[in-house]
Amino acid sequence: MWGLWTAVGLVVAAGLGLGLVFAAADRVALTGAGPKALVEPVRSALRSLLEQRRTTLAPDRLLWRTACAAVPVLALLSMAVVPVGDRTLLSTSADLVWFNAMEALLWAAVWLIGWGPNAVHSLVGGYRFLAQGVAYELPLMFAIITAGLGAGSLRTTDVVAAQSDLWFVVTMPVAFVVFLGSAAAFAFWGPFAAPAGADIAGGVLSELSGVERLLVEAGRVVLLGASAAMAAALFLGGGSGPWLPDPVWQLLKTLLVTAVLVGVGRRLPVLRPDRAVELAWMVLVPATLLQALVVALLVLAGAYG
């Protein structure tokens, strides 16, 4: 059994590491500068530390600052239920719901980042994020629950164990794709970056500088990294694989998911939220429900052992 502080430290390190990997991959895809761009996230972080925090006219400072600090904390908390090896820092009987709840709490945080500074673009970004959040919450929930359904448990370690014969992605492709898409939506990244879009001068990020910008940006990439690790655990069999030890396999799968996510996400333009939201309600919700139905029938037929 790990000591508590070791475990916390490991989760924080794993979260930051995965976030850094994601940020580096993202920067390479974005700038096309090759491997040299890999250090850019570190450079940006240092630059943010050098920068002054700024304020705006009549902001709600308490809520604003709290929300900025909450984003990375929530991302790390969602990392706490991601299985590393065959254990998690926090093994509850409802890990999957925990992961989802942290993303829901992110709503409140991002909304407040948009609201706090009392500025037009920022507020519009907050509105966009809420609309996006409402639309993608249900598909995400159904996607996560589908994995739980296949395993017959909400515990992530049970979900990984249930895939010893067959990876869930084979029978749950829709849930897998929706999970990754929703993760991008909750981190307002890639095609779902409308809340921080260039058309609203950076939206929720438009008034952030210095440490606060660093916190929010770090939270976003940590969430994306944690989601990639979670996707590997929930749908790609976690650490299972031949020859190599489990954690190595898990890391490889996580890196693969990261690469695919970045590669696809940076190939697309931002989807305008008013259109994407209709797609989420009218297509993704029924699609994920059907997916859950199919998996439920497979469970009844005994397909998952």
Partner: protein, 367 residues
Amino acid sequence: MDLTGRIRRWALGRPRVLVIDAPGGERFRWQLEDELDRRHWPLALSPADTDLALVLGRPGAQLAAAIELLWSQVPQPRHRQDIAADGDLPAQLDAASVALVDAANRTEPVQPGAQTQLGNLGPEPDDVDDEHAGHSGHEGHHMHHGGDVAGLAMADTAPDRDGLTLDVLRVALGPVLPGWPTGLVLTGSMQGDVLTGVELAWVDGSDDPNHGVLQATPQAVAMDQLARILLVAGWPTAAAAARRARRDLSGSHPQRAAQTQRAAARVASRVRGSRALRWSVQGIGSTDRGMTPAGSAHAAGDVWGGVRHWCDVAAGGEPVPVAGSPRSLTEASILLEGSELAAARLVVATMDLERPATRVETESTGV
């Protein structure tokens, strides 16, 4: 050099740049953007995100005042530099970079201004106080006393498209925004993110006598417009590709002309062929309402039509006769009425707006 100094220099080695181009400096802006792309210096989206503010050309009095206000919101460390068109561009950027590190080494107690965002820059500094985002009281009904707080007027209410009478905010966009024609100011009311009562005006722009003379092929101009649209539409990788193609098109390498043409055509067909972009922008700014004269450059009348048009020109296709294509501001403001903020930004980015040829004193737009 001590370690901290070295780290500081490294950290600021890729400063985020806010380019402010006084009208008429397009060609020079292209060179600057190419140089920034070469150095991988990212473009800033807002003052909060800015390290370096580079001012191109000679801004007129009103634009200069707006720049001053914007500059007051940039957090330390920061550096602002006027870039001269006839100077050595890389040398000037190197100098700016050094000056930025110097600024970081000095610890100045200057606080950035407590203004809200650059979206709030009105044509006159007095207007800034009128804009006020979310904190909206209902002046129009119940026992509320109206008035203003912290110099900010409370919001008013007005009928909206859902039949609810909700708050409206007075907003002003411009004159400096990413992907926005510098010097253009949009004033209007906003409910949620829907703009009404839109009025457009140019601030005085440039003092430069060579103002408005852009020596470039229509193809390169179209590629520039495409880069702007893609930036606003949120497709940074394609925007960078368009900027690269623009550089090659405006360069003088006759021996590589065929290659340049192929590259330009590739960028154009990538944008044209993007289903995601088409799905996102189709129907925005549609002129179904019969506002646009026939024969306008925008075949389908919407942003996607505009994108296709610019792609055709940028790919070197036959230059579509653009009879009367630069739209007047009045025409544009009618088109923007009732559109969402994002849609308005896309429509403006797609339009080839007519700039006043000489200095114009804008009358007060009645905010």
